[in-house]
Amino acid sequence: MKINEGFELRTVCDENVIVAYGRKNIDFSKVISLNESAAYLWNAVIGREFTCQELADLLCKEYEVDAQTALADAAEMVAGWKELGLVSD
């Protein structure tokens, strides 16, 4: 899967927010904010193909977390991103 084009991660006052730049109208009432680890993953895989396993490996590398929890967290996050239309297969 891959992060869809037209989204940009911006830092506003220490908050990581995703802004949809691809469109003419930007709906700031639906701005999505990412926590630190989600922002780390976003930056690591932006612009390329990735899998849930890859995200889990990245999490394990950066944070003290066991492989199983990391995979579950990554899958949950990806499901959320898909629902919001941020990623597609």
Binding site: V12, E15, V19, K24, F28, S29
Partner: protein
């Protein structure tokens, strides 16, 4: 005095229940979802940047200073840049560094603008056209969206302005039906 005010407000709310019901039917009720709030100056800075890049932007409006035309927690507005600004336009302006207001233009003198919130009974802001980041093009309520060009809406805004001397009392009434 404040007890009296509370009693009067309570009676008014009771008396105006049908209007309150009508208002909710027409405009919809505030969504109850929890919103993550970013600091105003940084957030509106980002909004200003995207407007300058040629996008339009939809934002929630904070505060009650634009009552009765924009209701806090219920309404959103769509902003765009414009070549010129006129009396009656609601604009997002950076009136001091990092300090933004979304108020209505009440006076234009060359490039000097005077702004005032629809819901303010005193106090105006002064700025120049260069400080304006965007103008409201749509008022987005849960049940309907009003264009800023809507003639009926424009007339209502003009009437609201001429009723300025009794605005305090009208707002008191408005609070009873919102």
């Amino acid at each position: 005095m404040s007890t009296l005010k509370t009693i009067v407000r309570f009676l008014l709310r009771l008396l105006l229940t049908p209007f309150r019901f009508f208002n909710k039917q027409r405009n919809g009720i505030a969504p109850s979802e929890v919103r993550h709030e970013l600091p105003n100056d940084a957030f509106l800075g980002l909004v200003s940047e995207t407007l300058a890049e040629g996008h339009t932007a939809v934002i929630w409006v904070k505060g009650y200073s634009m009552r009765p035309f924009i209701e806090f927690g219920r309404d959103k507005v769509k902003l765009a840049t414009a070549a010129a600004y006129q009396v009656g336009d609601a604009v997002l302006a950076e009136i001091a560094k990092g300090h933004y207001v979304l108020h209505r233009i009440i006076k234009v003198e060359g490039d000097k603008l005077t702004l005032q919130g629809d819901g303010n009974v005193r106090g105006v802001e002064h700025c120049t056209t260069a400080d304006v980041r965007g103008v409201v093009t749509e008022y987005i309520r849960p049940n309907r969206t009003l264009s800023a060009d809507d003639a009926y809406l424009k007339r209502k805004i003009r009437i609201w302005r001429t009723l300025f001397p009794i605005r305090r009392y009208l707002l008191f009434l408005y609070k009873a039906i919102v």
